[in-house]
């Protein structure tokens, strides 16, 4: 299959934040719920991917995964980049993730508080790199790698990227470097 057969739709996408949960509960849960299916993921899967990305790379004093629209870009990549085996691997992973979350917390993942969800993802992350060598962990590591790649290659995560630097200097002080960043050209 030719790679240019698909048009990459990684431009700015928007989050459809729905009101399927009572507003008070939403405040506690701090969960962005998608009510429409996306390009590849269905609404539930999209809600989960969005949440995973934001837990992995939260917004702090610098942009996080929600600012860089990481979940939406990942959704598009599932269509334009992923092979059918990756598509299967990721959808299976998301289902297993929900099931494991329920097993561990005795509650649906989406009903957990933000802190509980963070704790569960951290638990999965720790197991994936320290203990488990199974399909679930392999899939988790791949999704994590993609989320990191998408966010850290985004415009939001690279405020000092210059397409046309204008030259190279290899021995600058911090203030000289800041001045260059300010004027956006060497």
């Amino acid at each position: 299959m030719e790679i240019n057969r698909r048009i990459f739709l990684g431009a700015m996408l928007y989050v459809v934040s729905a009101s399927v949960l009572p507003s008070e509960l939403k405040k506690v849960l701090k969960l962005n719920v998608f009510k429409s299916d996306a390009a590849f993921f269905n609404a539930d899967q999209m809600t989960l991917v969005y949440d995973l990305a934001n837990i992995m790379i939260p917004t702090t004093n610098t942009p996080g995964a929600s600012d860089s629209h990481t979940a939406q870009v990942l959704d598009e990549l599932m269509v334009s980049w992923a092979s059918s085996s990756t598509q299967r691997q990721f959808t299976n992973f998301l289902a297993q993730f929900q099931s494991k979350a329920k097993g561990a917390n005795n509650s649906n993942y989406f009903s957990l508080t933000k802190k509980e969800r963070e704790a569960f993802v951290e638990y999965v992350d720790g197991n994936a790199f320290e203990k488990d060598r199974n399909e679930f962990s392999t899939a988790y590591k791949r999704i994590k790698a993609l989320i990191f790649h998408i966010h850290y290659s985004s415009e939001e995560a690279n405020p000092n990227f210059f397409l046309v630097p204008g030259g190279y200097k290899g021995n600058l002080t911090e203030s000289e470097l800041s001045a260059i960043h300010k004027r956006k050209y060497l």
Binding site: M1, I3, N4, R6, F8, G10, I55, M56, I57, P58, T60, T62, G64, V73, L77, S80, W81, A82, S83, S84, S85, T86, E118, V121, E122, D125, G126, A128, F129, E130, K141, K144, A145, I147, F148, H149, I150, H151, Y152, S153, S154, E155, N158, F161, F162, L163, V164, P165, G166, G167, Y168, K169, G170, N171, L172, T173, E174, E176, L177, L186
Partner: protein, 572 residues
């Protein structure tokens, strides 16, 4: 379309472009044949104005390509397998070649107008007198029929035209040339360079010599070229025309004369030979799209189809006189396949410089030229190696999804300035071995009916010994350079190292003085066929340690000048 020309040039890459410019400027009606598609300079295939977030699939090629076995060679190389310039590299599933199972060969190709001149590394290094003498001195391969002095004026001629930014280092092992303003070393590179200079008289860390313009000449500006903007996106094609390529420089210069015809999508199947005149008649091409065959005639044929591409065409050019390939009376066609080998990668911290930073993406590395040559006191091998090196930016903690850690803390750890870290990659000379050979596969053909090239080449004991020594040497040099946390990784002696991995494949139609042991004379002219020239990497009798493109270009310009004089005097 006219099918008769003064000169036919097979290939439009770094040497084909040069041959075209030289013949056109001398008034010859010149045809350039390119097997790949047309690529327009500054056209839509150039991706140099795409930010990382604008690249197709964020730079990741469609997974189905790998699943279906496409781009096997490029995938093994890793860093080139990205959507920014994938279209400038050949998919070896579509264009297969062959090698013994136990000796995989990595053949990196570019089938498009401009060939690999669009994606080359741009390190423009002269060979030294010692490099041309090596074969004769140690008895490996066929002695070079030319010396450094023969090529020196042509090096200058080429450098002035292409634009080479470099420092005049005054080294016997890497002669200086016609240079534009050099690129700056970083704090860390300068630190190591200064320290190495204190310890050694024969080892030097220098700034690389880049075919990227830093002070464009009037001639370069007139061709629409301008100063390099330090983006280091060269392999995507350069809208500024700042690095040298066929598209940015030689083909426009040739086009200006009105003497150039370019035909793309034309695979040269064979050089046609006239038994009565004992000359090349021209070439037969296969239209890539229609698969129809047609002929072009000329007074001279220049083979510039890349080392192995040229060998494939010549081997396939069979006739009564030359049943094993044109100009192969010696039986040497396809022999002495050469290349560079890397078996050592080193890295080390450079102390200090916590208050120093770098800006911009310099388009060239630093370099430690070969310092071994004939120095055998502590060596159990011949020839030598150099190192491609860099510490152009201070390291910073990078996001890694490959280890445990998510959330605020993991995020805070990203982008913290770290130490300056220097990296070095060995580049060793593979000796000319008679049994490193390319032949036509006896039965397998590509979809255009061309027999596949079968490449049977490997590194041997001399290169393995070099790797051992290079590991010792770089550790010693990094210590002398004042580095700490030195890490040296040498490829284990038992691990296979594929030829071709460093892209610089050469040989297969070597120059030499003796027609019984070589294919070409010192002008790149076939001993057996006076109007057939080979001036790409196939003509090389040895490979030295330097990046070879500048030498190919100088050889081509010199050969074109010589052939032009023969044409003017109706000798060929």
């Amino acid at each position: 379309m006219n099918k008769e020309y003064d000169v036919i040039i097979v290939g439009s890459g770094i040497t084909g472009g040069w041959a075209a410019k030289e013949f056109c400027e001398r008034g010859f009606n010149t045809l350039v044949l390119e097997r790949g598609r047309n690529v327009e300079h500054r056209g839509p295939e150039y991706k140099d104005f795409q930010a990382p977030w604008e690249l197709q699939n964020r730079g990741m090629p469609d997974e189905e390509l790998a699943d279906n076995g496409h781009y096997a060679t490029l995938r093994k190389k890793g860093h080139l397998y990205k959507t920014d310039a994938l279209h400038f590299f050949v998919d070896d599933k579509k264009h297969p070649y062959s090698f013994p199972k136990d000796k995989p060969f990595m053949w990196t190709r570019g089938y498009q107008l401009g060939g690999r001149s669009l994606t080359w590394g741009r390190q423009a290094l002269r060979w030294s007198p010692m490099d041309f003498q090596a074969n004769a001195k140690d008895g490996h391969g066929i002695p070079w029929p030319i010396s450094y002095d023969d090529l020196a004026p042509w090096y200058s001629y080429v450098e002035k035209f292409i634009g080479v930014s470099a420092n005049k280092d005054g080294l016997e092992t890497l002669p200086d040339g016609e240079f534009q303003t050099p690129w700056e070393m970083s704090y860390a590179e300068q630190y190591i360079s200064n320290n190495i200079a204190k310890r050694y008289t024969d080892r030097h860390l220098i700034i690389g010599r880049a075919a990227n313009l830093t002070s464009p000449s009037q001639e370069q500006t007139a061709l629409g070229r301008s100063k390099c903007q330090a983006r280091s996106y060269c392999r995507r094609g350069c809208t500024f025309g700042a690095y040298f390529s066929s598209q940015s420089a030689t083909l426009p210069a040739a086009q200006k004369t009105g003497n150039l015809t370019v035909v793309t999508d034309a695979i040269v199947e064979r050089v046609d030979y006239d038994e009565s005149s004992k000359k090349a008649l021209g070439v037969t091409v296969i239209d890539t799209n229609t698969k129809e065959r047609r002929q072009y005639k000329s007074r001279v044929v220049f083979m510039c189809a890349s080392s192995l591409g040229t060998v494939q065409v010549l081997l396939n050019s069979k006739s009564e006189t030359f049943p094993t390939g044109i100009a192969n009376a010696s039986g040497m066609l396809g022999r002495y396949i050469l290349g560079h080998v890397t078996g050592v990668v080193a890295s080390a911290d450079v102390p200090g410089g916590e208050d120093k930073f770098a800006f911009g993406r310099r388009p060239i590395a630093t370099y430690i030229p070969n310092y071994r040559h004939e120095k055998r006191a502590d060596a159990d091998f011949v020839r030598g190696f150099g190192f491609q090196t860099t510490a152009q930016h201070r390291s910073s903690t990078r996001p890694t999804a490959k280890e445990k850690g998510i959330g605020i803390i993991a995020k805070q750890n990203v982008g913290q300035p770290g130490p300056w870290r220097f990296r070095a990659f060995m580049y060793g000379e593979v000796l000319p071995y008679y049994d490193n050979v390319a032949t036509l596969h006896p039965s397998k053909k590509d979809e255009w009916g061309m027999p596949l090239l079968h490449i049977d080449a490997e590194i041997k004991e001399n290169e393995r010994k070099m790797i051992k020594q290079a590991a010792k040497d770089i550790e010693e040099m990094l210590e002398a350079g004042g580095c700490t946390n030195i890490e040296v990784a040498a490829t284990p002696q038992s691990k296979h190292i594929p030829m071709g991995k460093q892209v610089h494949e050469m040989g297969g139609a070597c120059m030499g003085s003796d027609p019984n042991t070589s294919v070409l004379n010192g002008w790149g002219q076939a001993h057996d066929v006076p109007n057939l020239f080979v001036t790409d990497g196939a003509c090389m009798a040895s490979c030295a340690t330097q990046n070879p493109s500048l030498t190919y270009m100088a050889i081509t310009a010199r050969a074109a000048d010589y052939a032009s004089k023969l044409l003017q005097r109706n000798i060929i």
